[in-house]
């Protein structure tokens, strides 16, 4: 790719970006959210058209008019959110949109052998082609997509954050498959936020920042911190800023709280000004714990006390008592994507703007804009829809909302999921500052390094139980994992 440019209205998404992928090589495309990675991939896969610049594949100029065109030219894209028809069978999904499926008729039998070969190649030899895709695991579905790419004789496969929704063991399997594809002389572009991952899988790297290529080279010649400073444009020596905060009195006291299925009775007390981490595998009951605490899931037993007063009842009552929650599912639950920033920030707590039964909209807008500034949301204006913001900025809007609610206890479920390094550091700093103001923070995360660096204490959950609580300094990644995977009762 040479000098690719792409504009969306006044925003320049891509500015003179160049990219080289060799056959049989994995190129890692690295950049913060909003750096233009996804736009670049969309140009490559024909979903967007470049305004300027040339692309060539194997020496031949390539100008895809649409996804179908791109596939014909040998470019296949595996999106972060999978692109399969869940109710159709594996083979039907693989054949979707394939050339040579007959003139409007499907000849399944003829294709069967090819499909089985492709499934074999991605390590799914045991999967029946007639199995329904929606019933398979996410990892399997992803591999079915890869098989679909193979059957269209793809020369280049683009992976957009393929591991963000995969459990650890499936990641290893995916890397094996990528290795195999490499040996078959397929060029691979791999987007990821996880540097460790990129290091295992990629041969070369290319870093994008603000829509420009800012550096590229061989993986073995570069250190992690060099890549990070390329991404962020400055040194992130302080990824985990150390903001001193003092612990106060016990603020949140949970007494044998139970949910319907999970969690099992939990006892926990957290102090004012404390950052309490909750670790555990997906499905260990972490999310259920905080949802029960916040009143989103049914409380089957036990008590919750905040500053000595018992809290119960609806989400609204708990919010009034001082709980605030950030959802792990930012896209669907955390924010109303099609509503403006202001609306999202003030949602659910508008009463304070009432003036003779009507809302004082100016006052509302001003205080929302104030909060936007405080958490440093980057946007044209407060009236911009949340959907147009990058993941990191969206998360800041969600944080602004909890601040707007004046919460004393901030429950943050995976607040840094899918967010670039620079914004992550900002969020850690914000958490530290809030704790210094005496707020209590419940920090749930799957990413152990951040828990270990940010929290005062960490509790590890497994199978719906809170197994063990220690000072953060007394934990290591290994000891957390061994408790999280323990099966003893």
């Amino acid at each position: 790719m040479q000098g690719i440019c792409k504009r969306f209205g006044p925003t320049i998404a891509l500015d003179q970006v160049s990219l080289n992928v060799n056959a049989g090589e994995v190129l890692a495309l690295i950049g913060e959210n909003g750096a233009g990675k996804s736009t670049l991939l969309k140009v490559l896969s024909g979903a967007h058209r470049a305004d300027r610049g040339q692309i060539s594949i194997g020496g031949k100029p390539y100008q895809p008019r649409g996804p179908l065109d791109a596939r014909g030219a040998g470019v296949a894209m595996i999106y972060q959110e999978l692109n399969l028809a869940p109710d159709l069978s594996v083979e039907d999904n693989i054949l979707l949109g394939q050339a040579g499926t007959g003139k409007g008729l499907l000849f399944r039998k003829q294709q069967r052998q090819k499909i089985e070969e492709a499934l074999e190649a991605v390590g799914l030899g045991s999967l029946s082609p007639t199995a329904i895709v929606g019933q398979q695991s996410i990892a399997t579905q992803q591999l079915v997509e890869v098989a679909r790419a193979l059957i269209s004789n793809a020369k280049i496969i683009l992976f957009d954050e393929p591991t963000s929704s995969l459990p650890q063991k499936d990641v290893a399997q995916l890397f094996e498959i990528i290795d195999r594809l490499k040996k078959n002389n397929i060029g691979i572009v791999y987007i990821s936020h996880f540097l460790e991952e990129v290091r295992t899988v990629a041969d070369g790297y290319s870093v994008l920042r603000d829509g420009r290529s800012v550096g590229s080279g061989r993986m073995e010649n570069v250190s992690d911190s060099e890549i990070i400073s390329l991404m962020v444009g400055r040194d992130v020596s302080e990824l985990y800023p150390n903001i001193p905060h003092d612990l106060g009195d016990v603020r949140l006291k949970i007494k044998s709280m139970r949910g319907q299925h999970s969690p099992h009775p939990i006892d926990l007390s957290i102090r004012a000004g404390e950052i309490f981490g909750i670790a555990g595998l997906v499905g260990s009951g972490r999310t259920e714990l905080v949802r029960t605490l916040f009143g989103l899931d049914h409380l089957s037993g036990g008590q919750i006390e905040l500053d000595g007063t018992r809290i119960k009842g609806s989400v609204k009552a708990r919010m009034r008592a001082g709980l605030g929650m950030l959802s792990e599912d930012r896209k669907r639950e955390g924010l109303a994507q099609e509503l403006p920033i202001i609306e999202n920030t003030t949602m659910g707590s508008l009463k304070r703007y009432l003036k003779f039964t009507l809302l004082d909209l100016d006052k509302r807008d001003n205080s929302a804009i104030e909060l936007m500034k405080e958490v440093e949301v980057k946007a044209h204006s407060g009236y911009q829809n949340v959907a147009e913001l990058s993941g990191g900025n969206q998360q800041k809007v969600a944080i602004a909302r909890i601040l707007h609610q004046n919460a004393k206890v901030l429950i943050m479920d995976e607040p840094t999921k899918g967010i670039d390094v620079g914004t992550k550091a900002e969020i850690y700093r914000m958490m530290g500052k809030l704790a210094a103001q005496g707020k209590t923070i419940l920090f749930i995360s799957s990413y152990l390094p951040e828990l270990l660096s940010v929290c005062d204490r960490i509790g590890v959950m497994a199978r719906g139980r809170l197994r063990e609580i220690r000072e953060a300094a007394d934990w290591t990644e290994d000891s957390i994992m061994s408790v999280a995977t323990s099966s003893d009762r």
Binding site: G66, R318, S327, A336, N344, G348, T357
Partner: protein
């Protein structure tokens, strides 16, 4: 900038375009009546019949729902009113108060309350079932649509209810000026010996007042903002402590009140109550909302837009009528306009990218 303005006031521009088109076309091929004040009055009058229940529908659609029962609920309310008028204890007197007038006034008051409760009740039933069972509003109101029709027919004995003319109070006749364009709610004012008549149809006044109330409700109250939040993302609203089930019940009940007022206008227009008149009305009401920029996926819609949408429908109908285009073709034209409006609306809010792609794909295959 101009483009932005054009997008923002899209429905209004569409209305102007349609008015201009019919004004020109009718001038050449018709009798040049389209632009007459009389025709405008008639158009605004019939637009009111659609617009009033459509305000309620707008709120429902913003909340992410739909109400297919609005049409039959509307005629059910009209029928309730007709039955009450038919059974009035005395004929309608000239004044509200006085010895013999009091009984009728009380009866009339009772009739109006009953009619409003019927509409609100229909809405409450919809809202309760939707909130309690989580069945999609389309299916729930598809069911209640038939139920309300059946209830209406029981009430009317499967025929049309006519109230004797002397039982209908004058003010009710005045609520909907209809074809008698000389009657207005605001009496002429005598100014310096000159009589100035405000020839604004009363139905228009009612519509504008209701629009103002609904507009402020949606824009500047906690309830209104919560409805937008729920329509945009119910789970986010829940996370923010908004009681979605209760709000939705209120939304449908409130819409029922608008439907009841629509029923009053309907009665004032046709002067009888026929439950089966309502079949199909709901689609007209929904069409007005959609033409006005409401999104069936929720979170988007406007009261002013809906008013414009109702005017678009009546302008087309009136224009086609004056051009002596048969009804059958008018249906087809309105259908096409609705589809075009939704496509344009999607273009306006989605990225225009897909549109260009669609074109480029077409050029490729051809």
């Amino acid at each position: 900038m101009l483009k932005k303005l054009l997008w923002k006031f899209g429905p209004l521009f569409a209305l102007v375009a349609i008015l201009v088109f019919f004004a020109v076309a009718e001038k050449y091929w018709g009798q040049g009546q389209f632009l007459s004040t009389r025709n405008f009055r008639v158009m605004m009058n019939s637009a009111a019949l659609i617009a009033v229940p459509a305000f309620g529908m707008t709120i429902i659609i913003i909340s992410g729902g739909i109400d297919l029962s609005a049409g039959t609920a509307l005629t059910l309310c009209g029928t309730v009113l007709a039955v009450m008028l038919k059974n009035a204890p005395t004929a309608a007197p000239d004044t509200f108060f006085g010895d013999d007038a009091l009984a009728f006034t009380l009866w009339m008051f009772f009739a109006l309350v009953l009619m409003t409760l019927t509409g609100a009740g229909c809405g409450l039933i919809n809202g309760t079932i939707i909130s309690a069972t989580k069945v999609v509003p389309f299916i729930v109101t598809l069911g209640t649509m038939t139920i309300y029709l059946g209830v209406g027919q029981i009430l009317s004995n499967e025929s049309t209810v006519y109230a004797p003319k002397e039982n209908v109070p004058e003010w009710l006749n005045l609520c909907y000026t209809g074809r008698i364009a000389e009657n207005y709610l605001i009496p002429p004012i005598n100014l310096f010996g000159q009589e100035i008549a405000f020839k604004i149809p009363s139905s228009v006044i009612i519509t504008v007042i209701l629009a103002g109330m609904a507009g402020i409700l949606m824009r500047q109250t906690v309830f209104g903002r919560n409805v937008f939040a729920i329509g945009s993302s119910e789970s986010t609203a829940r996370l923010c402590g908004i009681n979605a089930p209760l709000t939705l019940m209120a939304v449908y009940t409130l819409s029922g009140v608008f439907v009841a007022i629509g029923g009053l206008l309907y009665y004032a227009d046709v002067k009888n109550g026929n439950p089966s008149d309502g079949q199909g009305k709901e689609l007209e009401i929904i069409a007005a909302v959609v033409l006005g920029g409401g999104s069936l996926s929720g979170g988007r819609g406007s009261i002013i837009g809906t008013m414009v949408g109702a005017l678009i429908i009546t302008a087309i109908r009136s224009g086609c009528g004056l051009l002596s285009i048969p009804n059958t073709y008018t249906y087809i034209i309105i259908g096409c306009i609705i589809i075009i409006a939704v496509v344009v609306d999607q273009l306006r809010h989605g990225s225009p990218e897909w549109f260009f792609q669609m074109i480029s794909r077409k050029t490729k295959t051809s």
